[in-house]
C-alpha cells in the first residue's frame, strides 16, 4: 500500500483491492496481459502490483509500436535517407532505435538529413517548402497513428505533391494478440485491452479472443483505478464463468471505434501478406502497406529499399519481454549493458517500452524482487 497516497481516490483503490482479493479462488494463479505500453507505464509508476494478491500477475504485451520495429526496417529507412536529395522525417521516439547499422541519430551524425517531426503534417509542410527535395515520412504506430498518416497521404494527393512519400511501418494490434495466444510458452487468463488503439478500432475486433480463444478482455483507461477496475472485471467474469469483451474505458472508447479513421486507413492502406516484428518474428497480415492507387506516395516503390533482414543481437531478449514471457529485469543485460542511454533492445528506447518504464519507475520493485529472490 506504499503508493496509496498518490491516488486521487485512495479509498476506492483500497476497496477495489479488497474486492479483487475476494474474487480469487484459493490456489489458482491468474495471469493477465496488458497489451498497451501506456498501461505498463501506469502499473510500474504506481506500483499497482502491490495492490494485487500474489496469485494475480500482470504481464506486458507487445503494444509499443517503437519496440516492435525490426532492425532491418531501420536499416532500410537509413538506406532511403542516404539518397542525396532525401529529407527523412520521423517521430522523436524513433530516433534512437538501433538498427543493424546504427540508429537515425547515428545516420544523421554521419551526414544524412533526418529531421524530427511531431506530426506527419509537419513532414508535408517540409515537402511543400522543399520542392527540390524528396521528403519521406517514417510512418510507425498501431491503429492510433495510422489514420493520421492516411489523412496526410490524402492531403498530399489533393495538393498533388510529387515530392512526399511515406515509408509505411504501421502495424495492427489484433494479429499480434493472435500470435501471442498461439505462443506455447505463455498461458494467459485474460487481457487488459489497449485504450487509444481501441478509440479507432472499437471493441468488436476483440470478439475472437472471447469467442474463439475463450479469454475475457476488458478495454481499460490509463488511470491506476482504471487498471484495478479492469482486473476486477476480468476476475469477476472468470468467477461467473463468463467470457466477454467489456469496455471499462467507454468515456473515451466508442464500442464501434472511429468510423472515419477506419475509413481513411482502408482508403489508403491495405494489409501486407506478412511483416516482421522485432523479437516476435514474421506475423501474417499484421501490418499495413500503401495501396497501389497511392503508389506515388509509397517510399518502398519510389526508392530501392534493400529489404535487409537483420537478426536481433544475441544478448537481446526483447522478444520474450514483448510476449510477456520474461519480466524486463530478467533480461541478462537489463540495466547493465542495456539502459535508456545505451539501448540494445527497443523496449529500452521508447518511454512506453516495458524495459524503459521499469528502468525509470520500477526500481523500488526491482530491489524488492532482488531481496525476495536472495533470501
Amino acid at each position: 500500500m506504499r503508493f496509496v497516497d498518490e491516488f486521487r481516490d485512495a479509498a476506492t483503490a483500497r476497496a477495489l483491492a479488497t474486492k479483487i482479493a475476494g474474487l480469487c479462488e484459493p490456489g489458482r494463479q491468474y495471469k493477465f496481459m496488458e497489451v498497451c505500453g501506456g498501461h505498463t507505464h501506469t502499473i510500474y509508476k504506481h506500483g499497482l502490483e502491490d495492490y494485487l494478491p500474489e496469485t494475480v500477475s500482470l504481464v506486458h504485451g507487445p503494444g509499443c509500436p517503437v519496440c516492435v520495429i525490426p532492425m532491418g526496417r531501420v536499416d532500410d529507412a537509413i538506406a532511403i535517407a542516404e539518397h542525396p536529395d532525401v529529407i527523412m522525417t520521423s517521430f522523436g521516439d524513433m530516433m534512437r532505435v538501433p538498427g543493424g547499422r546504427g540508429s537515425f541519430f547515428d545516420s544523421k551524425a554521419a551526414g544524412t538529413d533526418i529531421r524530427m517531426v511531431y506530426s506527419p503534417l509537419d513532414s508535408l509542410k517540409i515537402a511543400r517548402n522543399n520542392p527540390d527535395k524528396q521528403v519521406v515520412f517514417m510512418a510507425i504506430g498501431f491503429e492510433t497513428t495510422a489514420p493520421s498518416t492516411a489523412m496526410t497521404v490524402l492531403r498530399a494527393a489533393q495538393e498533388k505533391l510529387d515530392n512526399f512519400s511515406i515509408f509505411c511501418n504501421h502495424v495492427t494490434i489484433i494479429p499480434a494478440i493472435k500470435a501471442i495466444l498461439d505462443s506455447p510458452d505463455l498461458r494467459l487468463d485474460g487481457f487488459i485491452g489497449p485504450g487509444h488503439v481501441s478509440t479507432v478500432i472499437g471493441c468488436k475486433p476483440y470478439d475472437f479472443i472471447s469467442a474463439q480463444e475463450g479469454k475475457p478482455l476488458v478495454c481499460a483507461g490509463f488511470e491506476p483505478l482504471d487498471i484495478l477496475q479492469s482486473v476486477y472485471q476480468l476476475l469477476l467474469q472468470l468467477k461467473e464463468g463468463r467470457c466477454e469483451v467489456e469496455n471499462q474505458y467507454s468515456r473515451v472508447v466508442p464500442w464501434d471505434g472511429n468510423p472515419k479513421a477506419l475509413e481513411v486507413i482502408g482508403e489508403v492502406m491495405e494489409l501486407r501478406p506478412y511483416f516482421e516484428w522485432r523479437g516476435l518474428g514474421f506475423i501474417s497480415h499484421s501490418a499495413l502497406q500503401v495501396r497501389e492507387k497511392y503508389a506515388s506516395f509509397d517510399a518502398e516503390k519510389i526508392f530501392n529499399v534493400p529489404g535487409v533482414r537483420v537478426a536481433d543481437p544475441k544478448a537481446c531478449q526483447c522478444g520474450e519481454v514483448l510476449k510477456g514471457v520474461l519480466k524486463p529485469w530478467e533480461c541478462k543485460v537489463f540495466g547493465t549493458a542495456c539502459t535508456p542511454e545505451t539501448p540494445i533492445g527497443t523496449c529500452m528506447v521508447s518511454s512506453e517500452g516495458a524495459c524503459a518504464a521499469y528502468y525509470n519507475f520500477g526500481r523500488f520493485s526491482r530491489e524488492r524482487v532482488k531481496e525476495a529472490t536472495h533470501t
Binding site: R8, G37, G38, H41, T42, K45, C64, P65, V66, F91, G92, D93, M116, V117, Y118, S119, P120, L121, D122, L124, K125, I140, G141, T144, T145, P147, S148, M151, R155, H196, T199, V200, G221, F222, E223, R251, V252, V253, P254, N258, P259, K260, A261, V264, S351, E352, N360
Partner: protein
C-alpha cells in the same frame, strides 16, 4: 507519439482543411479535426490529440485525468510538448 494529449478547442478554422485552433498546455496550436467528422465540435469542447490529429472528443473531467497521467509520465510528456511546440501544420 503514442501519448494522447488533451486540448480545448478555441476556434474552428473555416478554410476547408479541417483545422481548428486548440489550446494545448496553455499554447494555441492548429490541430487537424478531420477524423472527428461525425461529431460537431464547438469552441470549449475537449479533444484528445495524437500526432497533430484529434482522435476523440472527451469531457473536461477526462481531459484533466489525461493531463494528470501525462504529467506523471515525466520526460516523455516534456519531449512530446517540445515536439508539439516546433510543430506547425497550418
Amino acid at each position: 507519439m503514442c501519448l494522447g494529449i488533451p486540448g480545448e478547442v478555441v476556434e474552428l478554422l473555416d478554410d476547408g482543411r479541417d483545422l481548428a485552433m486548440v489550446s494545448v498546455a496553455g499554447v494555441r496550436r492548429a490541430v487537424n479535426i478531420g477524423l472527428l467528422h461525425e461529431e460537431k465540435l464547438a469552441p470549449g469542447d475537449w479533444i484528445l490529440i495524437h500526432v497533430g490529429f484529434a482522435l476523440s472528443k472527451i469531457d473536461e473531467r477526462e481531459a484533466q485525468a489525461a493531463l494528470d497521467w501525462l504529467q506523471g509520465v515525466g520526460d516523455a510528456y516534456t519531449d512530446e510538448l517540445e515536439a508539439l511546440a516546433t510543430s506547425d501544420i497550418t
